[in-house]
Assembly symmetry: C2
Homo-oligomer: 451 residues x 2
């Protein structure tokens, strides 16, 4: 038995939803599906989730909310209309949106409740459509399923007791349609996962029902060894391990949510990435161990911009037991996540995502606390950095992986701000200037994959 | 006005001490000298400091202390005899040793007091000799000079108020002879610097008297870009910066104590490394900035063995704010210094010197605390590691430094356990297996210095 998750582009229109129905009809093993909110129909289109966020913003700033509500309902109206299902759903959707706006005061909770509607409405439409074409189906809200999560708005984590509740889905004879992206806190509030979190719901359901396979449908035939937007015709990955996938996803590969791997990794349920528009195409399989390690010690290169680094230098720093810890403590106190912290004898650098400092004064405050509490000899900030990773289980045994990477950088005149390779040896990380990101990915890709 | 420090090999015999006298006679600018304990006269010889440590060990284990005392006194007797100075000093030395043994109960304090005798006795002999040949001279004990240090046995740090006291040496018309390696705590106890700490005393005196130059006499004409015991005829360094010297000294270059740089670095007093046996030879100058950065972006390669690494892996570690800090806290609680801590998304490695675990159960205890407090998914220890550094102020601007290093490793089939380069970009660090250390230094040296 399989669980399938369909992403936003797979469900952006009635035509796409019909493809999904066909996939399920062709594979009776798919018993549970998790759905995203309708994505873009074309490049100029807007995702429903982004419309919902705009609705929230208008409400908060006292602007008229009606235009956003209408635009959202029109997206579903177009789908409902073409699928020929019960249009009474639209009234229900409008009432839900207005109910949230009227009754939820805490802004973080309201945002989560509104965002959840994209998936929630879509699941209801899809279940209705499946039944209308004779495919016995049922919509389940995450509350009915029992998806209990931590109370961290926009960043929920599953509470493990949920698995027991989810197992009840096994006893149904329907195709169960579950909205992705959110769960409920113990107090009954809607809390969403981080963006792209429908992948997480799919993984949770797959584990809860003990699926043999979790199929994750997107709009690409494969996961590729580098971003196809940067590298032309990149190497398609047939098999990749959970750990490799996580490193790549985390560092800029947006195709699969890195946190969606955890539930499956522990129980070794494999994941298959497939294309809704070409379901017979190969696909990428995410597994515990892959056989291609000798042929491809490196499986992919990835990168992302939007980083900054802070470096402090303090003479005899290495003698002061606890100085590094106090340095980290300051970032922790401000709730700032650190990505890397390379150390020298007398210096420590920390690399972090810049967007953590948007819309707040944390940067200035941290700088002040660093100055006053640590009184470092030298305090230096480097902005506009990018992070690049080279990932592969085979790097551990292959001599020269670092050599090939640094050669690629040198040949392209890219200066390395930081290098970090830990003992796990599944990834090697470099900080470079953001302007060099595409060149770096390009040259690294060709270094490891040109045959 | 200059301060000169003479190392153990420069003072190992009467013949060597005569060379020192000649150097001072030839350069009237040298007004204050700091002396080490007598070093080895030949490869089979034992340093006086090691004899003093053996005396301590015999005393602690209840063995007869007389043979060690006699061996120590014989070293000084031979010197005194050949220099033809007052042999009454020997009785005083014997009384001092016996007084320490009889009256100091705390073993750490006794060890420091005994170790200090090597330098202290030598300074008295040398001042006596200088006077005997008509060079007006005076022995100063660190207590008279006012060298106040923190109460950390075998690892003292200077208390800054000392500088004011030291300044009084400027008002003398004698050649002042000061024993290196130790100072006094506020309670009046003898506390030594870490091993090789006479360099530190020299630097402190140079700063206290506001010297124009600190001359550090050893048995080599230069500091070389790699250890001459590993690389044949290595490149002699004419100029090196404080920061470069510190990185090299710290990582295995034993020619100059890394902590001796601090006092001078702040006030920019340059250091000259010279050879007692060939004082006219070039020498290496340690300065704030060097002019040779373009020609030699890398100034040296160095390495040391005796390291181990501990790695923990924890899924979603990067989401747990504070996990890294808690990890470091555990090492801090056990007083273990960490050299490097490369991080991955889900893992942190720490590299540390293995000798911190000798003669105690800290390793087992730390492993247990890590298991119980952090409950990591994976905990891995790698022993018998070496650390290699490539150092140079020019690395910051030179593209390809990392490439050349990793190429050297790859060509020699050396697998890289860790790589770490922080934003200071003056050094790049690699952890490798200890067995590969010499090959690594060799190949790195030839990579950067073959012309």
């Amino acid at each position: 038995m399989k669980v399938a998750k369909f992403g936003g582009s797979s469900l952006s229109s009635a035509g796409q939803i019909k493809k999904v129905a066909k996939i399920i009809q062709d594979d009776p093993n798919i018993r549970h599906i998790v759905v995203s909110a309708p994505g873009k129909r074309d490049d100029a289109d807007t995702k429903v989730t982004d419309l919902l966020i705009a609705l929230f913003t208008n409400h908060r700033t006292g602007l008229d909310t009606q235009p956003a509500i209408e635009q959202i309902l029109q997206r579903y109206a177009a789908i409902i209309d073409e699928l020929g299902v019960n249009s009474g759903l639209l009234e229900k959707f409008e009432a839900t949106l207005k109910d949230h706006l009227a009754n939820i005061e805490d802004p973080e909770r309201l945002l989560d409740a509104l965002k959840s509607c994209g998936e929630d409405f879509n699941a209801q439409v899809i279940a209705e459509y499946f039944n209308s074409i004779g495919m016995k189906s049922r919509y389940w809200s995450p509350r009915e399923v029992g998806i209990l999560v931590s109370d961290e708005p926009s960043n929920a984590r599953l509470l493990p007791e949920s698995y027991e509740a989810i197992a009840k889905l096994k006893d149904t004879d329907t195709v169960n349609v579950i909205p992705g992206f959110f769960g409920y806190s113990k107090d009954g509030d809607i809390v969403t996962f981080s963006r792209g979190g429908s992948d997480i719901t799919g993984a949770i359901i797959a584990r809860g029902v003990g699926a043999e396979l979790y199929e994750n449908f997107t709009d690409q035939n494969y996961i590729y060894s580098a971003h196809p937007g940067i590298v032309k015709d990149p190497h398609p990955i047939e098999e990749i391990t959970y750990r490799e996938m996580r490193e790549l996803s985390y560092s800029g590969f947006s195709i699969f949510h890195d946190e969606a791997l955890e539930p499956l990794y522990e129980v070794k349920i494999p994941i298959m990435i497939k294309n809704t528009n070409d379901p017979k195409a190969g696909g990428t399989r995410i597994v515990s161990e892959r056989g291609s390690v000798d042929e491809y010690p490196v499986i992919g290169v990835s990168g992302d911009d939007g980083f900054l680094s802070i470096t402090i230098k303090q003479y005899l720093l290495n003698r002061e037991v606890g100085y590094s810890r106090r340095f980290l403590q300051i970032f922790e106190d401000f709730g700032i996540s650190i990505e890397h912290m390379p150390t020298g004898i007398d210096d420590i650098s920390v690399l972090m995502r810049s967007d953590q400092f948007e819309g707040n004064n944390k940067f200035e405050e941290i700088m002040e606390v660093l100055e006053t509490q640590l009184q470092p000899e030298w305090l230096h900030v480097e902005k506009d950095l990018a992070m690049v990773v080279v990932v592969g289980e085979g790097m551990r045994n292959a001599i020269g992986t670092a050599y090939r990477a640094t050669k690629a950088f040198a040949e392209n005149n890219i200066s390395l701000q930081m290098i970090n390779q830990g003992a796990s040896e599944i990834s090697m990380f470099f900080a470079i200037q953001a302007k060099d990101l595409d060149t770096a990915i390009h040259s690294l890709y060709h270094t490891y994959f040109d045959r």
